[in-house]
Symmetry: C2
Subunit: 257 residues, 2 copies
């Protein structure tokens, strides 16, 4: 008998080659997998860790979710402590829960929230260099927030997908888009909630909104770029270090929202 | 003729072996010195950079100060841009000023402000691991603030100096000591302003205050440890990553304060 655990965890993506296992690279998935197999005394076949989805090199997570099947019962709070005692300091497990076999971290994820952080100023703040993208040109936050509303809804986001995407369909639904200034550290935040995001979609959307906020493009370009279904229309991709996976929701289908 | 520049700069100490030049180590002083000499086209003898004082490996600075003599006139704002265009992203020059030859970044520094940041919680926040010390035991902030007041004034801080200090005298004056909770990120800050600090003094004071805040020692231990003039009395040293050099003041002697 196996016990299925759902874990919620944060990581600083700076020193990881992303979430997903890649040969000879330091990845979050491999880091977790190694520890879980060590705790289970190297079972054969090895235990696997299934994340809600990948994040790229340099991308951070405040609440990434994964599941794995473990051969012995460990109380969830003890599982959290056991994992954290062995994890490097750039990954922290926040919660563990016992879930039934129907739970699947990837297939059951029905909503994700991402935040993208942009810092301004003429020069890069040394303390934020790995935690924000730096954009030194002036931008109008209200204009970007207005422009972002055209992304809300069900759209074919072909114009916003990086080459290399394996997605069968580029249709996704965005439930919420908000651009606001974080008064605590004077950074601009781009928040997106959707039923799923294509490869680099958030970073391409942010780059487009920054061009609009800087006046290089009109607000109406969002609708035009969506309609074009052409990756060349969006042009830029904002860098990885500003992106955070904030939340993954499970439960009933997205229609309930 | 040489032009003397005073520069104010920030650095993330995580990836530096401290401020001061050491052979085969990445240091802030060496990083600045290399760039300034390159800008001056490798003069012989090389130009030197004089900091207000050293900081240890892992210690951060929000406003460190240094001076150097440069063979050509460059407008201060252009000097800032020129330095930042060549500096790595973990150092940022905030200001440059032309000063006369009587200015000396180390000898004229008459007051320094340090902040020490402590994070709580059972586990280390991955995003704060290099920017705070983690102390998971409960502490009473008001008790630590009260205890810290006994550090204010002119004292022989022999009990608070690490071995290896080159100081001729261990007498220093602390003008201000404050312990408070930063509501923005729920961290505890220890602020100290003094006319100078001995090697590891702030980190040893913070470690003592944490033991008091946790109830392992009485508030009266601060006066007792000062009076003992014995390094064994203070016991612990808080780690480097929580420490920030916040400000260096120049001008009239400290008596004015």
């Amino acid at each position: 008998m196996m016990y299925r655990y759902k874990i919620t965890f944060a990581y600083d993506g700076t020193n990881f080659a992303g979430f997903q296992i890649q040969p000879h690279q330091r990845t979050v998935e491999q880091t977790l997998k190694t520890i879980i197999n060590r705790m289970a005394k190297q079972p054969n076949p090895p235990l696997h860790v299934i994340g809600s989805g990948r994040t790229d090199a340099g991308v951070h997570a405040l609440n990434q979710v994964a599941h794995f099947d473990f051969p012995t019962y460990i109380p969830p709070a003890s599982m959290v402590r056991a994992l954290n005692s062995q994890l490097p300091l750039d990954v922290m497990v926040k919660q563990a829960e016992l879930v039934d076999e129907s739970f699947h971290a990837r297939y059951n994820a029905h909503r994700k929230r991402y935040r993208y952080r942009v810092s301004q100023g003429e020069f890069v703040n040394p303390f934020r260099r790995n935690y924000t993208a730096h954009y030194k040109y002036p931008v109008d936050v209200a204009t970007m927030d207005q422009a972002a509303q055209a992304l809300v809804g069900e759209h074919d986001f072909t114009s916003f997908v990086a080459s290399g995407s394996q997605a069968k369909s580029n249709v996704r639904t965005i439930y919420e888009a908000r651009v606001w200034r974080d008064p605590n550290n004077d950074e601009i935040c781009f928040d997106f909630v959707g039923n799923g995001f294509l490869y680099n979609q958030v970073r391409i959307m942010v780059a487009l909104l920054l061009e609009i906020g800087n006046g290089q493009r009109p607000v109406s370009d969002v609708a035009r770029v969506i309609a074009a279904k052409d990756r060349q229309e969006a042009r830029m991709t904002a860098p990885a270090e500003g992106l955070y996976l904030v939340q993954v929701d499970y439960g009933e289908p997205a229609e309930k929202d």
